[in-house]
């Protein structure tokens, strides 16, 4: 897919002016936050489970080579096949090879961010294979020729009337006078249309929420049941998953499941949690005849052992973006690639490079809400700071910003000069601030004052106030 992360600023300006999008984003602000809080509050062990979940992933990452080995052995033992892919291109080729071997014309897909990451649908289309997204949200955006704007609610940027228009356009063989005014009727239509696709497809492709080393199982967590029909009905089931999806045991899955659904949708448990192990067994009346797992690196090994390693704990629940004021304002597409919001701001430069994704870590006010709700306790603001440092080191940010910082640093590194300059400037600014104590215009600060007033400082500097406060304290103590 086309990467538009470098133009984040322009993307954001467009997003802010997009009335449909702004209406849709209201649903993010209204829904997710309350639901998560209620679910978390109802479980006294929730915070302890977050610690446990973090520790499980840290332990796994420290032994990732060995757990991958154990996992591979178990998959093979249960009759499945493991394929290794270093890059997105390798993974796509493996999928295509399997499709060709099966003479597949249609594949159904469960919702998966990893196949978005490797842009699988476009690739299969070029190869003459129809890939049908079956998650309702993914189906809607596939009809619209768009990409997900949210990692668990891919069509969160779309309003009901837009879905109706898309369905009328795409399902033009259905009666034109049918009623599609309610979400229920839209869902019913998608259900009927997609039901036929499950039976037609030769291959079903899913991602994985977890890969279990203890048993060689892949685990998917869904609410609609589309993922299950995708992995159950076709002859062949392909799982595409990145290597950090491994967890040691089923018990570890259980610990993380308790924080996953609560953080994502505010459910105690998602409707369907399914463990798939190998192909159908002898005597089984249904299930796929072949089971393939593609283990993808695509940049993960390069994150390990760096200041971005903690990001590999991410379980893709979406809580960080649900709580992010920047995401609330501009939505997911402005981020310009697959992963939006705070997790995307950290992950994108890691996966597609700082030149392309280096802008995104600036899309944060550092309010810290993302870290405060992250079930895996990933220090997202800290990692965004690391990216900003790298961006500065490499001279990627705008010249005005760099000079500004240099001038500030020249003062900050010389405390006497700094104090002197501040003691001159602050009273002046306080004076010019006038009775309103605000500036509606200030040279060099147009970026700020164009949208809001800048408060004028008090008449004394912080250092002066601090000294007075401290000596006051000493007098009181004496």
């Amino acid at each position: 897919m086309e990467v538009t992360s470098p133009t984040f600023k322009q993307n954001a300006v467009h997003a802010l002016a997009d009335a449909q999008l702004q209406k849709a984003l209201g649903n993010v602000r209204a829904g997710f936050i309350d639901k998560r809080r209620k679910a978390a509050d109802a479980l006294p062990e929730f915070d302890a489970l977050r610690d446990a979940a973090r520790d499980i992933k840290d332990h796994t990452l420290a032994h990732l080579d060995l757990y991958l080995e154990a996992y591979e052995e178990k998959v093979t033992e249960s009759g499945g096949q493991v394929h290794w892919a270093e890059t997105a291109e390798d993974a796509r080729r493996i999928v295509l090879d399997i499709c060709r071997m099966q003479n597949a014309r249609t594949v159904t897909k469960g919702k998966s961010m990893i196949t978005e990451e490797i842009a699988l649908n476009d690739f299969l289309k070029l190869a003459g294979i129809k890939a049908v997204e079956t998650d309702l949200g993914e189906y809607i955006i596939q009809l619209r020729n768009e990409h997900p704007s949210h990692i668990i609610a891919p069509a969160v940027h779309v309003n009901k009337d837009q879905v109706e228009a898309d369905f009328r356009r795409a399902h033009d063989y259905l009666p034109a006078d049918r009623d599609l005014t309610e979400p229920e009727t839209l869902l019913d239509e998608a259900r009927r249309v997609l039901r036929a696709q499950y039976f037609e497809a030769e291959i079903g492709i899913t991602g994985a929420n977890f890969l279990v080393a203890e048993t060689g199982s892949s685990v998917i967590v869904t609410n609609e049941g589309n993922g299950d029909l995708t992995q159950l009905l076709p002859r062949v089931h392909i799982v595409v998953a990145s290597i950090e999806k491994i967890v040691p045991t089923l018990n570890d899955v259980s610990q993380i499941l308790r924080v996953l659904a609560r953080s994502a949708t505010g459910q105690d448990m998602s409707v369907y949690t399914t463990l798939s192990t190998g192909p159908r067994r002898k005597g089984d009346p249904d299930g796929p005849e072949q089971y393939h797992v593609i283990l993808l690196d695509n940049g993960r090994t390069s994150m390990l052992g760096t200041e971005f390693q903690d990001m590999l704990r991410c379980i893709r629940c979406g809580a960080c973006m649900n709580h992010c004021p920047v995401y609330h304002a501009v939505g997911g597409h402005a981020y310009g690639w697959v992963y939006p919001g705070p997790m995307g701001a950290v992950l994108t430069p890691s996966l597609i490079g700082i030149d392309q994704g280096g802008h995104l870590p600036n899309a944060s006010t550092f309010c810290g809400r993302c870290e405060s709700v992250c079930p895996m306790r990933i220090p997202l603001p800290k990692m965004m700071r690391h990216w900003r440092e790298r961006e500065f080191e490499r001279g990627l940010n705008p010249a005005t910003q760099r000079y500004g910082l240099k001038i500030w640093a020249a003062f900050a590194k010389r405390p006497r000069l700094y104090n002197f300059a501040a003691s001159m400037a602050i009273p002046l600014l306080a004076l010019f601030g006038g009775r309103k104590k605000r500036f509606s215009f200030l040279p060099l600060a147009g970026g700020w004052t164009r949208h809001r007033d800048l408060p004028a400082p008090e008449s004394r500097t912080f250092m002066q106030q601090w000294r007075e406060r401290e000596s006051g304290k000493q007098r009181a103590a004496a």
Binding site: L43, P248, Y272, T277
Partner: protein
């Protein structure tokens, strides 16, 4: 070099493997052999009666319906009542599960029983659960010779029979039972943990039941 070797090579280099591999291997082998129990919420713990009650409560909270009966002989009648009360055709799909087969279905002359996997045209599917989880109102369903997984997903209505004695407080207990039944590190092809009927919130975040799986989930708790 194969992709596997390349990825493993990078991992081992970064993780400092090789220097102290024996300790690392032992740590991993130990954890796989004896999975740590972890934090198990208080909520599901207590007497058997508490567990069954909580199971029913939690299932109803996620829009499943529940009927409790004293003996398995009562199940066919409950199924038939369910069909009648919802104006459904007198026909159900099920696997050849012997626990279901042992029930007196023949007393209901007008009820058609279809065995085997679902073809996608069934209104009602009946399954027998392997276990239940009180903490979340979840049922665990296993694939196997007599238990097609398609019955759990394709019918419009899914009826699940569960023995009250199989209702555990938490998921960890059910995972231990799976290990006991199939042997360590072994699993049936498909294990479905089902918590309520299918739903979607993808249109304007409004939750609607019956996305791709069953629109309704009815649980019959026996005992």
């Amino acid at each position: 070099m194969s992709a596997r070797d390349a990825i493993m090579g990078k991992l081992r280099k970064t993780l400092g493997a090789g220097t102290d591999d024996a300790t690392r291997r032992e740590t991993v082998a130990k954890r796989l052999a004896k999975p740590p129990k972890g934090i198990v919420p208080e909520r599901g713990q207590g007497s058997d009666a508490h567990k069954v009650k909580l199971f029913c409560q939690m299932a109803e909270a996620v829009a499943a319906s529940v009927t409790r009966v004293r003996s398995p002989e009562r199940v066919p009648k409950i199924v038939s009542d369910y069909l009648r009360s919802r104006n459904l055709p007198a026909s159900v799909r099920m696997g050849a599960d012997r626990r279901l087969k042992a029930m007196p279905w023949d007393k209901l002359k007008s009820l058609e029983l279809k065995y085997g996997p679902s073809d996608g045209f069934d209104e009602v599917g009946v399954s027998h659960a392997f276990a239940g989880i009180a903490e979340t109102g979840t049922v665990a369903l296993l694939s196997g010779k007599d238990n097609p997984s398609t019955v759990n997903f394709l019918p419009e209505h899914h009826i699940v029979v569960i023995d009250a004695r199989d209702i555990a407080g938490d998921l960890e207990t059910v995972l231990s039972s799976l290990r006991r039944k199939f042997g360590k590190g072994r699993m049936p092809r498909t294990v479905n943990f089902v918590t309520g009927p299918s739903r979607s919130g993808d249109i304007e975040q409004k939750i609607i039941l019956g996305a791709h799986g069953p629109r309704a989930l009815h649980l019959i708790v026996v005992g």
